[in-house]
Amino acid sequence: MSADRFRTMISLVLAAGVAVSAVLIGIGFATALAIGWQGSLVGAAHATGAPTTDFGGLPGRLAALEPAAIAQLGLITLLATPVARVTASVVGFVLECDRLYAAITLAVLLILLTSILVLR
């Protein structure tokens, strides 16, 4: 992989993460302004009324189209974007046949995943 293609790939991963999260957060935020953070777009009967800081039970609350849940999915996408970027960097350095930097980036990814999963 050429250096230019590597840069384009990393740039696209970042731009995609930003675009997807911005759209989800935007939809969640705009609909919350209309029907409130505790509401549901498919009718009040579907709203769980869970606190907006609670990221649990996301699939069910997404199915009920709760504004808070849509925004939460967007925020999780945003927070995961740097992890996706480091993962893509490992792939890029491997394809560039740069063993030193593939190893360095893989080590960063492992430390990153360990700290996300272990430190809490």
Partner: protein
């Protein structure tokens, strides 16, 4: 939050994203006080929104910086090895260390660095040097297109072991105190490793998202990320960061320093304030 408050938070966040993208910092210095003092937001939710702000500044601007060759990805990845290790050590040490003393120490270091930053104000690009054996081995020799100067500027990283140690400390400090992660990274690259200011800022911007992502899980599981606050912050910061990233290529290195220096002084003063027990 009322719609007026949402609009206010959004506007402050645009400014934070713009300044953060130019200076290579996360914007927490602006977002946290604005949320707590301006809008009466609980400090924990403000800190959770700040983590979102750091990642939004980083990802929002880095897409452009990487594409435009402002970010040095090898410098960034090599130094992330130091910052992530430091951040883990910081989080583990948080229970035993004395924060008041550490805040005062960090604040003093930042204010002292402000003096040397001011001294480099007139330097557009660092003088060219013969790359060291270590810089060549680690491929930390590169160039960036400077649209303001209208030429390709070549550089090579100097004092690499010192830079690596400073980056480890930057990670340690952000894990321990949750402040100053961006300014320390810029200082290590600009001051110690003598990279051009714009490359230091863009590469710090690239790195801070990873440092912040390492602790994002803690904030999520503690319930510190509230979409009611974090959603307008994220939307505002992304807007500001995308605009800021378009500016960095066009302005001079001196202009970047003029944005960075007040941020550095503000973070230094706030850090000392925290050390003295002032609720900032």
């Amino acid at each position: 939050m009322t719609p007026q408050a949402d609009l206010g938070i959004f506007a402050i966040s645009v400014a934070a994203g713009l300044i953060g993208a130019l200076a290579g910092v996360g914007g927490g210095i602006l977002v946290i006080p604005a949320l707590t003092f301006g809008f009466g937001v609980d400090i924990h939710l403000a800190a959770g929104a700040s983590i979102v702000s750091v990642i939004a500044t980083s990802s929002g601007a880095a897409a452009a910086y990487v594409r435009d060759r402002m970010t040095d990805m090898r410098v960034g990845m090599f130094l992330e090895l130091a910052t992530t290790t430091g951040a883990v050590c910081g989080a583990l040490l948080a229970a035993v260390a004395s924060p008041a003393f550490l805040y005062l120490l960090l604040g003093a270091v930042l204010l002292l660095s402000a003096a040397s930053q001011a001294g480099r104000m007139g330097e557009e690009v660092p003088p060219e040097v013969t790359p060291s054996a270590l810089a060549s081995r680690l491929r930390l020799v590169s160039s960036y297109p400077d649209r303001k100067l209208g030429r390709e500027v070549t550089y090579s990283a100097r004092n690499i072991p010192l830079g690596f140690v400073l980056m480890w400390i930057a990670g340690l400090v952000s894990g321990l105190l949750g402040i100053g992660s961006g300014v320390l990274k810029v200082l290590a690259m600009d001051g110690a490793m003598r990279l051009p200011m714009k490359v230091s800022s863009a590469t710090s911007n690239f790195m801070i998202g990873v440092t912040a992502a390492a602790s994002a899980g803690i904030y999520l599981s503690r319930g510190d990320v509230d979409p009611q606050i974090a959603a307008p912050v994220a939307l505002g910061v992304l807007t500001g960061a995308i605009v800021g990233a378009r500016l960095l290529g066009r302005v001079s290195n001196r202009t970047v320093r003029l944005v960075f220096l007040p941020v550095l002084v503000a973070v230094g003063l706030e850090t000392i304030g925290r050390g003295l027990g002032l609720a900032l």
